[in-house]
């Protein structure tokens, strides 16, 4: 911000800036869960699963059903995780793997994934109905955290996201499974030569990343307020922007990408035109692809 002008003006634009950053951090928190799951899934399974957003929203509706039965959304999110896992496993076993066995090209598989997006979204709509829904949840008191005013629920969302990032970090850095996942992602044939049963690693990866996708769906629903069966269509573009910004297949890159995209879209919404906030994400993505195609943390040759 340019200094100067009247004191009042400076304060008010500063507070707009601060609150837009706060909004951005919440968006980043949701985006980080979704993007880390997406990038890990892509790296290990080699499938660019564009039906990810559709799985997210189906899982969000599953959490809604449990929430309607009187369970707090924070517990109902576990139902979203379960549905995310099951749907992702289904997509892999019943759709993607048979096509891969027939040597379907990766680009054709992307078209298959787009088709599955429609099938899943309309399937969700057929079951849940065409009207938007909202979780029953308390926002809690407003709290001042580091100069930002956030509700208790929003702080909990950010906290949940941080816990999940820590979980992913420990998983890929320190566990046997995580190492097998990284080896499979880097060079599947060589991983098999190390004795790693990569088919199992891939299956477990669909389960884990499906759960992340499901939780991301539930948190997306909390943050959105109201949502319908097609509400993640634009959000998928934000996920792709965060993933490719960080470098496809790079979990830490996706975290960083989610932070940048989340904050940039909300801050630009406050200072440019709110309608264009998702466009900003895409402008960042296109700039990155032009300047550094491997992404911020991508170093693959």
């Amino acid at each position: 911000m340019r200094p100067g002008g009247t004191g009042r003006k400076a304060t008010s634009s500063l507070s707009i800036f601060e609150s837009s950053v706060a909004f951005g951090l919440i968006t980043s928190a949701v985006l980080a869960i979704a993007s880390v799951g997406f990038t890990l899934q892509f790296a290990v399974t080699n499938v660019l699963n564009l039906a990810y957003g559709a799985v997210m929203i189906a899982a969000a509706f599953a959490a809604y059903a449990v929430n309607q039965a009187g369970v707090t959304i924070w517990v109902a999110a576990l139902a979203a995780a379960a549905v995310g896992s099951v749907l992702s496993l289904f997509l892999n076993r019943v759709i993607y793997t048979p096509f891969q066995r027939r040597k379907t090209s990766p680009i054709a598989l992307v078209i298959v994934a787009l088709g599955m997006t429609l099938i899943l979204e309309f399937g969700t709509q057929a079951i849940a109905g065409p009207t938007n829904v909202s979780y029953t949840m308390a926002q809690g008191p407003m709290l001042q955290v580091g100069g930002f005013a956030l509700s208790a629920a929003e702080i909990a969302m950010i906290g949940l996201s941080l816990v999940i990032m820590a979980f992913v970090h420990v998983l890929i850095r320190y566990t046997r499974l995580g190492k097998a996942m990284r080896a499979t992602a880097a060079n599947r044939d060589l991983a098999r030569n190390c004795g790693i049963r990569t088919d199992r690693v891939v299956t477990v990866t669909w389960i884990i990343t499906g759960a992340l996708c499901g939780i991301a769906g539930a948190v997306f629903g909390m943050n959105a307020g109201t949502f319908g069966a097609t509400s993640t269509d634009v959000f998928l573009v934000l996920i792709l922007a965060a993933v490719f910004l960080g470098g496809p297949g790079e979990p830490y890159g996706a975290m960083l990408g989610a932070l940048v995209i989340g904050v940039a879209t909300e801050v630009s919404a406050a200072f440019i035109v709110p309608d264009y906030k998702d466009v900003i994400a895409f402008v960042i993505l296109l700039t990155m692809l032009a300047v550094r195609p491997t992404g911020l943390l991508g170093a693959r040759t």
Binding site: A186, N187, R192, N193, T301
Partner: protein, 259 residues
């Protein structure tokens, strides 16, 4: 030429018990069409056996059939007498077979240390650090590059790491697919004369495919000559060198073209 004493250290690293390998009328290829036909070879425990032959003679396909990457259409593969035909490649690895492919032989985005850890994936986690130390004793040059990304290594260093990676599991049989492909001649000789010898000195049986017939003969106990997907000749280096047919076809023109 170096003696075992000169290579040093590696002799003390003898830990593996070499396995025997035998193929019986092995026919293998891609998508149902055979590339190698009815190949019967045998490798005794601790032996270094090489397979040479012109480009496209099916040398690599033979190895891939043995380690379960290429479909075996007929015939069989026996490891220490047990039939392992049609086993998945990860199961063959679990039986003590370390395979170093010609290309994509390391985890390029991972560091040298991480590559070795991956090689030791089947070990108990608490045994991995000691085993990494052991492999670094066999290939001391790797020690100063442990934290470098494998993708950044030179061709020779990379091949050393690929061999170190398979050593992590104390393999009973090491299968090497053209380890000197795309390497400068001087580096190629280091790989064969030093690195492959170090592998052999661990006690592992070694089956190696090579374009550089003359160089690989020098380190082999026995050699098979493949052409057109079939075994044309076999014998010790001395026997083959005494064969005018072999010398004219495979050694006469000096170094055969690489690739």
């Amino acid at each position: 030429m170096r003696t075992a004493q000169e290579i040093g250290g590696a002799a003390a690293a003898r830990t593996a018990r070499g396995a025997s390998l035998r193929t019986e009328s092995l026919t293998a290829g891609y998508g149902g069409s055979p590339i190698v036909h009815e190949i019967s070879i045998s490798v005794a425990p601790g032996e270094v056996v090489s397979v040479v032959g012109p480009n496209g003679s099916g040398k690599s396909t033979l190895l891939k059939g043995i380690v379960g990457i290429v479909e075996v259409l007929s015939g069989s593969v026996h490891l220490d007498g047990a039939d392992v035909t049609h086993r998945a490649t990860e199961e063959i690895a679990r039986l003590g077979v370390g395979y170093v492919p010609q290309v994509d032989d390391v985890f390029a985005p991972l560091t040298v240390a991480e590559n070795l850890e991956m090689g030791g994936y089947l070990l108990k986690p608490k045994d991995v650090p000691a085993r990494v130390e052991h492999v670094l004793d066999v290939f001391p040059q790797l020690r100063r590059m442990v934290s470098r990304r494998a993708g950044k290594l030179s061709g020779g260093e990379r091949k050393m790491l690929a061999m170190g990676r398979v050593l992590m599991l104390e393999p009973a049989l090491v299968v090497l697919d053209e380890p000197t492909a795309n390497l400068a001649p001087q580096i190629a000789h280091t790989v064969l004369d030093e690195h492959v010898r170090r592998l052999a000195l661990t006690g592992a049986t070694v089956l190696i495919v090579e374009q550089r017939a003359r160089a690989v003969l020098a380190i082999s106990d026995r050699t098979y000559v493949l052409a057109g997907g079939r075994v044309r000749m076999e014998g010790t280096p001395a026997e083959l060198s005494a064969s005018s047919e072999f010398v004219e076809s495979f050694l006469g023109g000096g170094q055969p073209a690489g690739g």
